[in-house]
């Protein structure tokens, strides 16, 4: 928000808390990227690093929320300023969850063997991860640049992420039925795919906050849902 405030300390607080949540976003993006790289290259050390670094994300989440509480208590913001503070709290929670998903992927990495036939799923997983990472990155951009079109676009893209998850679900199921020895690995890969799919949902959550700050309203249309695995 760059509407000039007479109270420049207030402006500094508002911009500072947004910078903090964006910094958190950058850390989550990196955690996700690293967790997938570690998984696909079976890099146990990198996976351990992702798990360790999640603490910093959680700490930043705490810090963002206490900053927001302080702004609410001391400055009693109204209108768009109030929406900014509320949206930052919401986005921080979204990001914190995404960080947990990255950590969970990293946690499963040592258990996912380098079974070759099943790691063909790895290509599909990588594609899905890249797709969802782009959604998260665009979601954060849409928020900070107040770009409503971009936010709406990301929300639409979640359909594709869900479809990718469905495809992965089906192919993992096939693997498990064909070869029961692959069940352990396939289960881990399935949870990982689900984690990635959930990150896509949180990206749309961030976009809804971007739209909320701009318009004062949550997007009207129901969020598109394409997860059909519940019916399989």
């Amino acid at each position: 928000m760059n509407t000039n405030h007479i109270l420049s300390a207030f402006d500094r607080d508002l911009e500072g808390v947004q910078a903090k949540v964006m910094r958190m976003g950058g850390m989550v993006e990196q955690a996700l990227r690293d967790s997938i790289t570690a998984l696909l290259s079976h890099d146990i050390e990198m996976a351990a690093r992702v798990r360790q670094d999640d603490r910093a994300i959680d700490e930043l989440d705490e810090a963002v929320k206490s900053d927001c509480a302080r702004i609410l208590a001391l400055r009693a913001p109204t209108a768009v300023d109030l929406r900014v503070v509320l949206s930052v709290i919401e986005i921080s929670s979204n990001l914190e969850r995404c960080g947990d998903y990255a950590k969970n992927i990293a946690k499963r990495t040592p258990s996912v063997g380098v079974q070759h036939d099943i790691m063909e799923t790895g290509t599909a997983l990588r594609r899905m991860a890249e797709f969802v990472q782009a959604m998260l990155s665009d979601a954060l951009d849409s928020y900070i640049h107040q770009d409503e079109d971009k936010a709406l676009d990301v929300i639409q893209r979640d359909v594709e992420a869900d479809q990718m998850y469905n495809t992965l679900f089906r192919s993992l199921l096939t693997h498990m039925m064909e070869d029961p020895r692959s069940i352990a690995t396939a289960m881990h890969l399935h949870f990982i795919a689900k984690n990635i799919e959930r990150v896509g949902d949180h990206a749309t959550g961030i976009c809804e906050q971007a739209i909320y700050v701009l318009t004062g309203e949550m997007p009207q249309e129901p969020r598109p849902k394409q997860d059909s695995t519940t019916r399989m």
């Binding site: 760059n2 911009e15 500072g16 947004q18 910078a19 903090k20 964006m22 910094r23 976003g25 950058g26 850390m27 993006e29 990196q30 782009a134 990155s137 954060l140 951009d141 900070i144 640049h145």
Partner: protein, 348 residues
């Protein structure tokens, strides 16, 4: 330093560049930076805009220690990943109110990164493509030594398959070598002139047996007058052969393949007189999602079908490089169930 001067220097910097004040706010950004990072940067906290942890840390350290720092910045340009090396240089006393400032500039390393990635992908692909027939060969050798040792009938059949697999490897190695040759000559302009009409009829004559075998009718339409273009006969012949062969193999279901040669007094893409070869099939057509990637090495619309047909996945890549050398173009028009037209445009 006066703000106007700072803005002028930023504007004159040919790279994306921003100035960050010691208050951690962006004090200025040039047009290149706005194209990369978004508009309305001035006044924002730098970490709100540049949220990637390595870069945030580099700028913080640069402010705190007044020492130059570098970091990577990963971004995306449409569907492509981009990589920037970001240089942070301290400017003591040049910020607002004599405070410090940090000059942050972005050097685009994307092409270098891509070249490395392409090389790695290529080696991986080639190994994979060579290994597939090799695995089959080794499997059959093992069977011939063991279970099928005294089975004359099986031996014959296996030798047939082994021959086909060996041929496939041979074709792949041949295509790799010819791709390599074409690439190394890509900067050398062809010196000779040749008549495309003669070239087309002789190339099609050699393809007729293949077409007959597939039950495909080959139609050639050329005018009366010779159509001369600067070109290397062997290479242009390969272009025609590759395109017509593809049309027979993948579009042969349509029953006929039409090849037409036309001349243009002026073609916009060639910026002058041009010749156009159109190879049209009436087969199943190509889904538009594949069109942009058709000339990529080892890219296949349907890898199973391509393997059955004995394709190497390099045919159109070779066509593209030969046409690059001839300063020509390849255009593909197709839609599912509408057939496909591959158009070669060459300057005259």
């Amino acid at each position: 330093m006066a703000d106007a001067l700072i803005d002028a220097i930023l504007a004159a910097t040919p790279l994306p560049a921003i100035l960050v004040g010691s208050d951690e706010r962006i004090a200025g950004a040039n047009a290149e930076a706005q194209a990369l990072l978004g508009a309305a940067l001035t006044g924002r906290h730098f970490a709100a805009i540049l949220r990637q942890p390595p870069l945030v840390e580099a700028i913080e350290r640069c402010i705190a220690e007044r020492s130059p720092q570098t970091a990577r910045h990963l971004s995306r340009d449409g569907a492509h990943d981009t990589t920037y090396e970001v240089h942070c240089r301290p400017l003591p006393g040049l910020g607002a109110g004599q405070g410090d400032a940090v000059f942050v500039s972005f050097v685009d390393l994307t092409q270098m990164e891509q070249a490395g990635q392409m090389r790695r992908d290529f080696v991986a692909n080639v190994s994979h493509e060579l290994r597939t027939p090799l695995t089959a060969l080794m499997g059959f050798i093992e069977t011939l030594r063991g279970a099928a040792r005294d089975d004359a009938k099986a031996r014959d059949r296996f030798l047939g398959i082994m021959e086909a697999e060996a041929n496939r490897m041979n074709r792949l190695v041949g295509d790799l070598l010819s791709l390599n040759r074409v690439e190394s000559e890509e900067r050398v302009r062809p010196a000779k002139r040749l008549d495309l009409g003669t070239l087309l009829s002789s190339a099609l004559a050699t393809l007729r047996p293949l077409a007959d075998e597939a039950g495909v009718e080959l139609n050639l339409t050329v005018g009366q007058d010779p159509v001369e273009v600067p070109g290397e006969p062997d290479q242009l012949r390969q272009v025609v052969v590759n395109l017509v062969e593809n049309a027979i193999k993948y579009g042969g279901a349509g029953g006929s393949v039409d090849v037409a040669l036309t001349v243009l007094d002026h073609d916009a893409a060639m910026r002058g007189p041009a010749a156009r070869i159109e190879v049209t099939d009436h087969g199943p057509g190509i889904d538009p999602v594949h069109l942009p990637r058709l000339t990529e090495r080892f890219y296949r619309v349907d890898s199973h079908r391509s393997r059955e047909m004995g394709g190497t996945g390099l045919g159109l890549a070779i066509v593209k490089h030969i046409l690059n050398r001839h300063r020509g173009r390849l255009r593909v028009d197709s839609a599912p169930s509408k057939g496909a037209t591959f158009t070669v445009i060459l300057p005259r």
